[in-house]
């Protein structure tokens, strides 16, 4: 329920490792809410989320350590440089990184000269790429939850992100994502859920 509206009900799905789940639906159909429920940021009105058989409410930090969530907002502080932003994001998530790795991740997303630029001077697309650079450092993380990862990206960056997702799935992790863009990602077994019209896999 969102306010007074019922967004979706009777949604049941399982996502094993090495699979990709794409959630589609019109604006306002509840895609973001579903992702946030999966992360534990939002409590479902009814039902529960389980990771490895256990309710995530009980697992708390254990679950969160195995999760990367990139939401609508970039989670970038304007007054910090891209490198600082990335470093802090990783430390908070419990991922140990060396400065060289930070530089490498930013380079991979096409932000080679931007490590020491304050995020304020970066364009919208560049900020999105800083946010997504975290994925390059999250290869050990078994669950990626991405809300509209391709927004504001140019073609090259989109290819890069698609590649990262495909590689991660190939490594046996699970990835859930939503997108308006029609392009599919070629990776292992893929499930699809369309909100607003019932599940279809």
């Amino acid at each position: 329920m969102r306010g007074e509206r019922k967004l979706f009900g009777a949604l049941n799905f399982t996502l094993p490792g090495g699979e990709l789940l794409r959630i589609g639906g019109a604006n306002g159909s509840g895609k973001t809410s579903l992702l946030r429920i999966a992360c534990g940021l939002l409590e479902p009105t009814r039902g529960e989320v389980r990771w490895g058989g256990e309710d995530i409410r009980r697992l708390q930090e254990e679950f969160r350590r195995q999760l990367v969530y990139i939401g609508h907002a970039d989670a970038i502080k304007e007054d910090l440089t891209s490198a600082e932003n990335l470093q802090i994001a990783c430390t908070l998530a419990g991922v140990r990184t060396r400065p060289a790795q930070i530089g490498e991740a930013l380079r991979r997303l096409g932000l080679a000269g931007c490590e020491h630029l304050l995020a304020r001077v970066l364009s919208r697309g560049q900020r999105r790429r800083v946010a997504l650079a975290r994925l390059a450092l999250s290869e050990q993380v078994p669950l990626w939850v991405l809300d509209e990862p391709f927004t504001a990206l140019d073609a090259a960056a989109m290819d890069c992100v698609r590649g990262m997702i495909a590689e991660q799935v190939a490594r046996g992790a699970s990835v859930i994502y939503t997108t308006h863009h029609g392009t599919e990602i070629a990776a292992g077994t893929a499930q699809r859920i369309e909100l607003g019209s019932g599940p279809s896999a």
């Binding site: 992360c39 534990g40 940021l41 939002l42 409590e43 708390q60 930090e61 969160r64 350590r65 999760l67 969530y69 939401g71 609508h72 907002a73 970039d74 989670a75 970038i76 502080k77 304007e78 007054d79 910090l80 600082e84 802090i88 994001a89 430390t91 908070l92 998530a93 419990g94 140990r96």
Partner: protein
């Protein structure tokens, strides 16, 4: 876990340093409010000497409340708060680190400048230490309790005024004991009892407020 703690504190201090105007405006507000009182009640030295601790404490309360808005609002707006909620460290600890950094940028300056302001009121010099110490113990409590209010009112309209309404009643004991310390010292009884009470309040708040704030944050981010 200590790496994350240090990370949060350094981050917040770095952000405050790069946006130093936020910190300075609060400090200036404190100074101005304290200076308004003599203009309101008259310059008679005996009167000013009596009301000095109370005035400084009330001004510290108000300044502290003004600074509270800063604690979570910008992180909430750009999405970094959500990431903290999904972080590897328990949220209570992250919150404690944030409150500490916030106190360093809002409470500590007040503590440092209070002796200067007290001299404006012709407050006896030997008692300045008690006043500063009472503020040093009390302002962290204000930050800790205020954090709960800031977390509860995150993103709501009515913002600052609503926050004040929620938090000021909870500030009352700190005000009474804090101002009481200087008054007791001024009347020759020594402010030790009050300072110890403040210390106890600080320990109590340090133990429980971050956890309550974490609960409130999860509720507000939903």
């Amino acid at each position: 876990m200590t790496a994350a703690l240090r990370c949060v504190i350094v981050r917040d201090l770095l952000l405050a340093a790069r946006r130093s105007s936020d910190v300075l405006t609060v400090l200036l507000f404190f100074v101005i409010v304290v200076s308004l009182f003599p203009l309101g009640v008259g310059p008679e030295p005996a009167l000013l000497r009596t009301i000095a601790p109370g005035v400084i404490w009330v001004a510290a309360l108000l300044a502290s409340m003004l600074a509270l808005q800063r604690m979570f609002a910008s992180d909430h707006a750009d999405g970094t708060l959500e990431q903290m909620l999904l972080g590897a460290t328990p949220l209570g600890i992250t919150v404690a680190a944030k409150v500490f950094a916030h106190w360093v940028t809002s409470g500590l300056p007040l503590v440092l400048i209070s002796p200067v302001l007290a001299l404006q009121f012709d407050f006896p010099q030997e008692l300045l230490g008690v006043l500063a110490l009472s503020l040093a113990l009390g302002t962290p409590v204000l930050s800790l309790i205020g954090a709960i209010g800031a977390a509860l009112t995150l993103g709501l309209r009515g913002g600052g005024a609503l926050l004040s309404l929620l938090v000021l009643p909870l500030y009352v004991p700190v005000l009474i004991i804090g101002a009481g310390a200087s008054e007791a010292a001024a009347s020759g009884l020594g402010g030790h009892a009050q300072l110890l009470l403040l210390g106890a309040l600080l320990v109590f708040a340090w133990a429980f407020a971050p956890w309550a704030t974490a609960v409130a944050l999860r509720i507000s981010v939903e």
